[in-house]
Symmetry: C3
Subunit: 488 residues, 3 copies
Amino acid sequence: MAGSPRRTAGRRLQLPLLCLLLQGATAILFAVFVRYSHETDAALWHWRNHSNADNEFYFRYPRSTFRAHLVHSSQMWRESQRGHVTAQGHTAGFQDVHTMIFVGFGFLMVFLQRYGFSSVGFTFLLAAFALQWSTLVQGFFHSFHGGHIHVGVESMINADFCAGAVLISFGAILGKTGPAQLLLMALLEVVLFGLNEFVLLSLLGVKDAGGSMTIHTFGAYFGLVLSRVLYRPQLEKSKHRQGSVYHSDLFAMIGTIFLWIFWPSFNSAPTTLGDGQHRTALNTYYSLTASTLSTFALSALVGRDGRLDMVHVQNAALAGGVVVGTSAEMMLTPFGALVAGFLAGTVSTLGYKFFTPILESKLKVQDTCGVHNLHGMPGVLGALLGVLVAGLATHEAYGDGLESVFPLLAKGQRSATSQAMHQLFGLFVTLIFASVGGSLGGLLLRLPFLDSPPDSQCYEDQIYWEVPGEHEDLAQGPLRAEEPETRA
Amino acid sequence: MAGSPRRTAGRRLQLPLLCLLLQGATAILFAVFVRYSHETDAALWHWRNHSNADNEFYFRYPRSTFRAHLVHSSQMWRESQRGHVTAQGHTAGFQDVHTMIFVGFGFLMVFLQRYGFSSVGFTFLLAAFALQWSTLVQGFFHSFHGGHIHVGVESMINADFCAGAVLISFGAILGKTGPAQLLLMALLEVVLFGLNEFVLLSLLGVKDAGGSMTIHTFGAYFGLVLSRVLYRPQLEKSKHRQGSVYHSDLFAMIGTIFLWIFWPSFNSAPTTLGDGQHRTALNTYYSLTASTLSTFALSALVGRDGRLDMVHVQNAALAGGVVVGTSAEMMLTPFGALVAGFLAGTVSTLGYKFFTPILESKLKVQDTCGVHNLHGMPGVLGALLGVLVAGLATHEAYGDGLESVFPLLAKGQRSATSQAMHQLFGLFVTLIFASVGGSLGGLLLRLPFLDSPPDSQCYEDQIYWEVPGEHEDLAQGPLRAEEPETRA
Amino acid sequence: MAGSPRRTAGRRLQLPLLCLLLQGATAILFAVFVRYSHETDAALWHWRNHSNADNEFYFRYPRSTFRAHLVHSSQMWRESQRGHVTAQGHTAGFQDVHTMIFVGFGFLMVFLQRYGFSSVGFTFLLAAFALQWSTLVQGFFHSFHGGHIHVGVESMINADFCAGAVLISFGAILGKTGPAQLLLMALLEVVLFGLNEFVLLSLLGVKDAGGSMTIHTFGAYFGLVLSRVLYRPQLEKSKHRQGSVYHSDLFAMIGTIFLWIFWPSFNSAPTTLGDGQHRTALNTYYSLTASTLSTFALSALVGRDGRLDMVHVQNAALAGGVVVGTSAEMMLTPFGALVAGFLAGTVSTLGYKFFTPILESKLKVQDTCGVHNLHGMPGVLGALLGVLVAGLATHEAYGDGLESVFPLLAKGQRSATSQAMHQLFGLFVTLIFASVGGSLGGLLLRLPFLDSPPDSQCYEDQIYWEVPGEHEDLAQGPLRAEEPETRA
């Protein structure tokens, strides 16, 4: 069914061998390069005679970090700004982001009727590998000193963000690629993610706290271009498996809700302290409520007989989180957040209804999860909103807070217009990186010896997983007639 | 099936139009009235030259808030008591409460076999709207200064509490109302919730940290009276859809467990600091373990052949959290918490078994989720327990801690008996507000032009949602015979 | 079906009577012995005139505790070391651990096709009872002063850890015991858990922060020996119910993912402060990513046609958390964590594939969840890894940090080799306690009057639960033919 026995025998070794190879390689690189940071190392930490309160762990691990940092003393705080906090400055609650990556993304993709094992399982595999690999890649870009990468809770969080972008790309090609192909995609994408992020945040001085560009736009267009290269004209053969069943839609809602509730933490993670994190969480919260309302409104408007569509609710309701990813830390105002979220939910819902079919028929991009609607368009919209709000920044509106939101403006090194242009250029750079990366990724994944599901076996767990054959077993069961829940 | 095409065409526009109208109205009100608080605004914050550590965000956003507050300095702490902390004083972890509202309530109601999309979807819609709307309503009651409502993390938390009451009411009428009706209910209920809360906490000086009265009793009786007004004599026609299926009961357990584990955070959220929050969480934790044991005991005792009932486990096991909502911050003692939880689980389980059928047949109240058993009776019981424990308060038992639990007693402005009478009067006021509100709500929802499911289509997703027609698609699928999971 | 009516009538009273008896007994013991700690009591707290910042609640309740502790002042910190922090020193986020126990363990066991109600329901019941009972037992061992047990957030956390061990044992006998038997098992196991923990941590000075020995090894071998005593030669009669169905496997993945994401919190909970907690979380994080990769590799390698097995992914991927339970706080190095996790995932996956069948056929141990593979072998491996890493400890590697990781080494009271020998002896003691306890438990549960499912009714919810009989009801439903989701 899933190819001839010989093909199976040969190709099915790809996944275990690649897992072992990648794990072996990262383990060796860890042995050579990775060291505990001075805050994670028993001797270094105590040798420096820090108070335990200074340990980065207490600033970054829990929800709403930097708190301990803040309360310690303003002196320590200034010191920490210089010393501990890198350009990245992801200060988010590690556990919140970790929950979004594994529970949120994992279950959001379980909506397909026969692809739940792969959705949640390959999410698990891809993200676990991405965490190791991006520890190395981001470490080389951001914390490579004296020949070593120093790891701590900050590298854990940064790796989680990178895994998010990989999972967005996974959404575009869900059901059409084997796990070995996905690992190769992650191998490439993690490198390009790290590079793009470095160019935007460190070289161009672009603001992108919640990753409208670096995470959502990058991840979406990387995946979409890759999906274009992998275009399957005969995908129609698996069409009957491309929908959901009743309970798979409910599983997907677990993912949706966990993403929705923790998104304020996600966006506020790397923003500046005090009013900055407070404002970012608030703007994200209101934007999400508005995208939820507009999603329900538009879904019913365009639905048959006014019926709502679960695909819209599962996805477009989240667009409010994506669209304020760049601007939520700025003086967007609560009203602005409502408008942004409303537009994002609208664009996203209409995208699912009208644009996804065109994308497939005209542009030959088969986008399984509709990442173009949830991450692509809202990501670009979010980047443009960032251009607008940055361009409108004035000393009056931000007061002395300008220094933390737009440090280069406060120092007089840039005008608001110049910052806006840099933001726009950052979007352009991201689209280039994503497109080139997605193309390369597509060519890589098309290598003929790689195991890939045939057109008639897409969106199908059974070719990669042992799937429980319930009714066969139960047919012989003595209780069959009495057991109504058997098929439940 | 769901009415004639013309009816559909006309009535089904109600949801999108109402969503757009409400979103437009709240957006305009936001534009006119809502401003960043001085802790969320870049210019105001920095102009005041606060240390970032003072920012309310760090006191309220994360789990177990006020911590940063506390450790900063006792001087700042006293200052914050005067300045930042409102009468409400909700200091709970925003993310814990947010999780309970969206994951907890959302999935708890998924137990119905054909109404999972509506349960989790309308929870999402209602709560998203309630968050916006109660930001405005509660803002007018609590933080309206200089013509503006000032929002920050406190308003986010308060809005979540209000959404909880709306969702309790939703539980009573689950399956028997359309989404446009539900939005109108929320429009009314949020206003009355804010008013009742204001009267109890600010005017009467009633203690009700975990909301036995303001949230549970109010939400339950509002919904029950509303359900009475909407009584459907012919509901029997949808009886076959009123039960669960095997996996819908497991989805509901996701809701139950998340509510159960975070309830100590919920109740301790607005209590006083130090020993107060500590004691509240502890009492809630023990009360919940006891209600779980009594629920299993009673469910098996009254079950056919000693069998347990999932409805009891999903709901009555949570009654221990409701019943100590008022008294958990008082000197209830761990033993008292066990007894209270035990009684609540018992009353709630017996209510599901014996009282719910009577409620429907004699009192004509059709209570889909049994909110009378989970929120109504345990809420009233919790209010009365609060009367009792408040009446027993002595200077000996509370020492100097009396000031934080019962400030009016400590100042000599009230005797313990007087405080107990005020508590009792608070319950009375709540029941009045809930009953009048529920009646008004019922009349509003009976407006003849409002879209409402016919008696034969209650508890049915298909009239509001596109429901995946799995077996139609799969009948043509080439793999049908080989795919046992098709019906899973 | 589930026995004659008379048998049912008689035996089915066991659960409610036992629940009521146990609850009554613990309530009386609570009334006699349990008091609020001085931090939970209004009068004691305020009488001592502490600042609210000193309240233990703020150190232990939220995620990443001790933070408030730390930042307050080094003086307070030293004071707290002497005063508040017990030998146990569980400082973990209460809510993280609580989530793992109830959501993680509860749903991980839902994989069986007809035993989901019992898995999640009995988890709920057992854990609720264990929390009360171990409050008493651990209280007698650790906080019994002046004739009273003083409870607070620390006792809440310790009780959750103990509940974890009980649930591991439950996994070995899942589906083969009635709820009354399970409560009796918990009654015994909680006592022995407390005793073993006391011997290891307090008497032998063994390090076991994440509980490789005290939780995983103890819980697993207690359950396995108990399962041996309860051996059912005729279990084949229920074989057809021992597998999963498609959606039950997805429910189980909810448990897996929540355990996976919070495991760094679990292991770092009771470790020493500063670099200690930071390092523990980091090591656990990397170990889990490696066990995930090796689980996928091995599962595909040994699978039919290279297919992955959900049982492996659900369980073996977590072995990385178990295996570093003892050593994660030591200077394991990130590379060491990867190697340890990789080995644990490998051993665990191979155990499921090859050893579990042998365990049943040769050793007559029927291990429903394969706890030997997830907790037993990785737990022992973790203990041995602790022996190794402790034996390699030097003043050079730990610097002044040696005092917090190995206080007896730092004080010169023990050599590294001696510490290693104590660790090894701790493993031996744990295996003895677990084996003797499991044997006693088995004899207790074999008492002939106890209600136990017949061999043909194992792994079957219907004998203990009202199970929704969906197709019977729906057969009369008017919409049957049109409703594809009915059977979903």
